[in-house]
Amino acid sequence: MMKSNIPNSTDLTCAIKVVDLHVDFATAGGVLPAVRGVSFELEQGETLAIVGESGSGKSVTALSIMQLIAKRTGRISSGEIVFDGQDLLQLDEHKLREMRGNAISMIFQEPMSSLNPLMKVGHQVGEVFRRHLKVDRAEAKRLSIEMLRKVGLSAPERRYNEFPHQISGGMRQRVMIAIALACRPQLLIADEPTTALDVTIQGQILDLIQDLKSENEMSVIIITHDLGVVAEIVDYVVVMYAGQVVETGYAREIFEQPRHPYTKALINAVPKLGLRTRTKQRTRLEEIVGTVPNLLALPAGCAFCERCDYAQEICSTSAPSMEVVGARRSVRCHFDLTKKDRHHER
Amino acid sequence: MNLNMLKCLAFAAIVGFAGTAQAADSGGEFNFVAPYDGSILSLDPHKTSKQQDLLVTNNIFRSLYMWSAEHRKPMLELANLESVSDDGLTYTYKLHADMMFHNGRAMKASDIVYSYERMLSMKPVSPNAGHIQIIQGAKAFESGGADHVEGLSVLDDLRFSITLNDRVDPAYYFYRPGTAIVPQEAVEAAGDEFGLSPVGSGPFKFEEWVKGSEVKLSKFDNYFEAQKPYLDKLNFKILQEGSTRDIAFRANELDAILVEASQYPQYKADPSYSEHLVEVAEMFTRLISWNADYAPLSDKKVRQAISYAIDEDTINKKFLKGKAYNPVGWLPSTSEAFDANGKGFGYDVEKAKALMAEAGYADGFELEILGTANKSYGVGVAEVVGQYLSKIGITVTTQQLEGGILYDKLVAGDFQGIIWSFGSGVEPLKALKRWHSTTANDSGNYVKYNNPEYDALLDKAQNTNDEQKRVEYLQAADRIFADDAAVWLFNYNKAVLAVQPWVHGIEPVAIEIMYQDFADVWVDANSPRAK
C-alpha cells in the first residue's frame, strides 16, 4: 500500500502535519480501528475542513491532535502529528498541557454541555488566562471581559457573572470561542461548531471564527459533516470515510470536480453548493443510501464499495490506495471519477 | 438483727467460697443488666408490673415484706409484726425507727396507708392493685364508694394495722416490689413524673435514667441497715440481646448477667465462670396446656400417652442445655410443698402407643400447638415435641404467635395446645388453686380442669392448721393433677446468673432471679470498677 504523498521535510509554512495516524478503541466487541492511517497537512493561515459522516473518524482525528482521546478506551497506536517542529505524540503530558488551550485550542459541538454548568462563564474564560498567562484573579477578570466583548457578547461585565444555563446557545458558543482564542492560539480546531445551533446563528459563528482568524493569524481546522456550511470559508478539504482519508484537495477543486464517489455524494447532498443559505429553509443533508460499514468487521475491498454507485468487481476484493492526482490533491479510488471512460454508470 | 449478713453467709456457702466470713469491701461500681423486653418503662413501682422495671425499683424502694432467698419465703422488712388478731384477719405492725426516704424524711405509718391507697385510687388503676385488694374495704375505696380503705389504720407515728378480707398470709402479697412504699410529698410534687425521678427508701437512690440505655443509682447514705449498701454506684444496663450481653460480660463490662440456655453449657464448661454461676429453680412451671374441648385431648389416656411419648429429660438436657429441672408435678422444686419423691411419667413409647390404641387413636390425629418465639418455652420446643409425637402417630403443626395474641386465645379457649410458662409459686396452695374447678377458666384454669378429688384435697389443705398435714394434702393434690395429665409438664425454669469472680452477695432468688437486693452485694478490689 502506497503511503501518502505528503513530503516529510519540515516545511516552515506548514501549520500542522498529520502522518499515518492510527487510533484504536477497545469496545465490548473487540478493537475498533476508528482512524486508519490518516495523513494530511495544513499550511499556515489556512482553513481546513475535515468532512465525513458520523463515524468516519473525523472527530477522533481532531481529538488526537489535542490528545484528548479517552485513555481508558482509546489509543493512538501509531503515526506522527507534527506541530511547531515537534511530534506531539512524543510530548509528555506536562508539555501537552502547556500547549492545549494555548498554542492549539479547540471548540466543540455542544456549547451547552461543553461548559461547566456550575461555573460562571467568566471564570471559565478566566481559567485559561490564569493557567497560561499566570495572571492574577483581577487581571484574569479584566482579560476575560475583554475577550467576551471581542467575541461579540453584549454587556460582557454582566455576562461574566452568569451561568451557562442563563445564556442562549449562540452566546455559549461565543463563550467557547472566547475560551479557545483567549491565548491567541496558532491552531484552532472547531469540531462541528455550528451543528447544534440555529441556522441564523450558524453564519454568525462562522463569520466570527473567520474574523478572529485573520486577526490572530491562526490556522483553523473545521470538522463537519456538512460541506455546504463551510464551503465559503475553507481553503482545503479532507474527506474521510470509515477511518480513512478518501480524498484531499483545495476546496474549489473538490467542489468543482470531486474525484471520489463519496465526495460526489456528499456534494450532491448539499442543495446549492457554494451558497451559504442563511435564512432559507435548508433541507437536511440528503442521505447517502446505506450505512457506514462496521469498523469491527471491515470488508476486504473498498470500505465504500457497498454504497458506491460505480463499484466494480475489483472494489469488493481489493482496497484502493491513496493516489496523488495533483498539487496537494489525492484520491483513494480504483476509478477516478474524472476518468469517465473507465466507468460505466449502472 | 442482721438478716442480710446471714444471707451473705448463706450465699457464700452456695457458691462455694471459703467458710470464713470475708469482710465486705465498701465502694465500687456495679454494672448489672436489665435483660428483659427492652426499655424500662417507669420507675414508679405502682405504675408498672414489668420485671424489667421492678428489678430496678426493687433497689430504690422497699416493700413491707421482702423475699428472702434462703428462707424461700417473704420476710418482714420495714416493720416488726406486733400482733395478729384472733380471727387472723388484723395484723398490727410497728415500723423500724429512723428509716429515711431519699428526700431525708423519716418513714411513718401514714406512708404505708398512703402507698396502698394510692395504688387503688390511681387512674388507670395500678396493675399491682390486686395484691392490695385483700385488704378489707379496698374494693369499696377503689370504686369510689369510700374515702379511705377501711382495713387500713394508722395507730401512731410508727404503728399501723391492716385488716384483711380472708385468712391469708399478708406476707405473700405485700412482699411484691410493686407494692413498695412511696413518700407522699415526693409523689405529689412530681405528679405524673414520679416514675421518671423516683424517691424511695431503698439502699440506692435514683441518680440518672438514660432512656432506653441505663438507669444509674447511687448509694443512699442514710439507709437503715448499718454499713449498707456497700456499693457506691449501681447501674442497670438495658441489654435485651443475649448475644450482646454475653459478649459484654466476657469483655468484663458487666459484673453479672442473666444466662440464656444457649450459652449455659459454655459457662458451665469454662472454669473461669463455672464456679461463679448462681442457679435457682424459679417458681415458674413450663407446660403445654391441652384444650379438653378438642375431642382426642378430652381423653385422659391420650393425654397420658402424650406425656409418655415425650422425653422431657432429653429435651431439657439437649434442647435447653440442662438449664431446666425435670418436673414431677405442678409445684416447682423451690416450693415448700414440693414432692421430692415425686416422679414424672418418664419416656415410654410402647406404653404411649398402647394407651393411644386403648383410647381408639391407634392411627393418631392432628394437633396444633401454639407458642411464642421464646427459646425456652416457645414454638421451638413445640417442634421438638412434634418430633416425639410423630412416633405415636400424632401429627403436630406449630404456629408462632405473639404473647398478647396467644393469651387472648388461651383465655378464649381457642386452641388445641399452647406452650407457655405459668407462675407456680410462691404460696403452694395459691399456686395449686389455679386448677381448682371454681377458678374461672379465663383467670387461670385455662384447661378447664375439673377433678372433685383434687378440689377436695385443696379445700382440706386450706382448712387445716396442721402444717404437715397441709403439705401432705397439697402433695397429694399435685400428684392427682400430674397423673391426669391435663397439661404436659415440661420443666421448672432454672434461672442462672453468671457473676464475675470479684462479685459477692448475688443470691438465688427463686421468685425471679433478677430481683436482686443490692444492699448485700459488694465487690473485691480487683474489680475493674472497684473504686
Binding site: 489535542m66 484528548l68 481508558r72 498541557r97 492545549r100 488551550g101 485550542s105 479547540m106 466543540f108 455542544e110 454541555s113 461548559l115 461547566n116 454548568p117 456550575l118 461555573m119 471559565q124 481559567e127 485559561v128 493557567r131 451561568f163 444555563h165 475560551i179 479557545a180 | 423486653d37 427492652g38 426499655s39 418503662l41 417507669s42 405504675k47 408498672t48 408490673s49 414489668k50 388507670p124 388503676v125 396493675p127 390486686g130 405524673d192 416514675g195 438514660v210 432512656k211 432506653g212 440505655s213 441505663e214 441489654l239 435485651q240 440481646e241 450482646t244 459478649i247 459484654a248 469483655a251 463490662e253 405473639e402 404473647g403 398478647g404 395474641i405 393469651y407 387472648d408 383467670s443 387461670g444
Partner: protein
C-alpha cells in the same frame, strides 16, 4: 428561598397526615390486647381490663379515636404512652438525640470513606483496584446487618478489647464507633458506588473535555470541575440515604442496646404501645422529610441551574 421553604414545609402536612392514617389503622389492626399489655401483665381480672380499656379510650370506635388523635396532634399533643403513662413526646424526644447522633455518625463515615473511595475508583476506572473496590462495595451491602454487628462487636470489643461492646456509655465517642460502623458500612459501600458512577459520568462529560482542552492540570480539573459536578449528583441520593438510615437504625440499635428511636419503635410495636409507635413513626418521617428538605436547599444552593421556585 423563604417562600420555597414555607411551601415545602406545607407539603409535609398531607404526607404526615397520610402516614398517620395508614399507620393508625395498621397499628390498631395489630391483634393483641392493648389494654392488657398496657397493664404490663397478662393475668388480670376481666373487669380490670375493661376499666383500663375505658380509661385509655380503647372502647371507642376507631374513626373517633383517629379524629381525636389528629385533632390533638394538630395542637402538638402526641398523646400518652399506654405503658409509661406519661407524654409520648417526652418518651420519643428523649430518644431522638441518640438516633440522630448514630445516624449522623454513620452518614459521616459513609461520606468520609465512601466518597473518596468512589472518586478513587472512578479515576482508576477499569483497573484491578476499581474491580476490587466494586466487589468490596457490593459485598458491603450484602451482609446481614445484625450479623456484621455481632462480628464487629466480637472482634473489636471482646477479642481486641479496643471498644465497648455495646450500650450508650455516657454518650462517649468510643461507644458510638461500633454501631456507627455497623450502620455506616452498607452506606459507605453505597456512596462509594454512587460517587463512582457520578464521577465517571462527569469525567466523560463535554465540559471536562473542555477543561482538558484548556490545558488545565488533572488536579485543577478534578477539584474545580469534576468534584463539584459529581457532588451535585451524589447529594440527591445522599439525602435519600440519610432518611433510610434513620429507618435502618431499628436493627442496629436493638443489637447494640442503643437508646434511640429505632429500638423504641420496635419495642412499642411489640408492646402494643400504639401512641408511642405512632409518635416514633411520625418523628422518623419528620426527620426524613426535613433532611430531604435540607438536602434540597443545599442542592439548590450549589446548583445554579435550579432556582428556588
Amino acid at each position: 428561598m423563604f417562600a420555597f421553604i414555607v411551601r415545602r414545609l406545607l407539603q409535609f402536612i398531607p404526607t404526615i397526615l397520610g402516614i398517620s392514617l395508614i399507620m393508625f389503622l395498621l397499628l390498631n389492626l395489630i391483634p393483641g390486647n392493648a389494654a392488657l399489655s398496657s397493664a404490663g401483665r397478662l393475668e388480670l381480672a376481666p373487669e380490670v381490663v375493661e376499666q383500663i380499656k375505658a380509661e385509655l379510650g380503647l372502647d371507642k370506635p376507631i374513626v373517633q379515636r383517629y379524629v381525636q388523635y389528629i385533632t390533638r396532634l394538630a395542637q402538638g399533643d402526641m398523646g400518652q404512652s399506654y405503658l409509661r403513662r406519661y407524654d409520648v413526646s417526652e418518651v420519643v424526644f428523649s430518644r431522638l438525640g441518640a438516633t440522630l447522633k448514630l445516624a449522623f455518625a454513620a452518614i459521616s463515615i459513609a461520606l468520609l470513606i465512601g466518597v473518596p473511595l468512589g472518586f478513587f475508583a472512578a479515576l482508576k476506572q477499569g483497573t484491578w483496584m476499581d474491580m476490587l473496590l466494586t466487589v468490596v462495595a457490593v459485598g458491603g451491602v450484602s451482609i446481614p446487618q445484625f450479623w456484621l454487628g455481632i462480628l464487629l462487636m466480637y472482634f473489636f470489643g471482646f477479642m481486641l478489647h479496643l471498644l465497648p461492646t455495646s450500650g450508650y456509655g455516657n454518650g462517649s465517642l468510643a461507644n458510638l464507633v461500633l454501631p456507627a460502623l455497623t450502620l455506616g458500612l452498607g452506606y459507605t459501600a453505597m456512596l462509594a458506588r454512587i460517587t463512582r458512577a457520578a464521577v465517571i459520568e462527569v469525567l466523560t462529560s463535554d465540559y471536562v473535555r473542555t477543561a482538558r482542552a484548556k490545558g488545565l492540570s488533572e488536579l485543577a480539573i478534578n477539584v474545580r470541575h469534576v468534584f463539584r459536578n459529581a457532588f451535585v449528583l451524589i447529594l440527591t441520593t445522599a439525602g435519600l440515604l440519610f432518611g433510610s438510615l434513620i429507618g435502618q437504625t431499628v436493627v442496629v440499635e436493638r443489637l447494640f442496646s442503643w437508646p434511640g428511636i429505632g429500638s423504641l419503635v420496635v419495642e412499642a410495636i411489640f408492646q402494643r404501645d400504639i401512641p408511642v409507635a405512632q409518635g416514633c413513626l411520625l418523628v422518623i418521617i419528620f426527620v426524613f422529610l426535613t433532611v430531604n428538605l435540607l438536602v434540597d436547599i443545599l442542592y439548590r444552593a450549589i446548583n445554579p441551574q435550579i432556582d428556588f421556585e
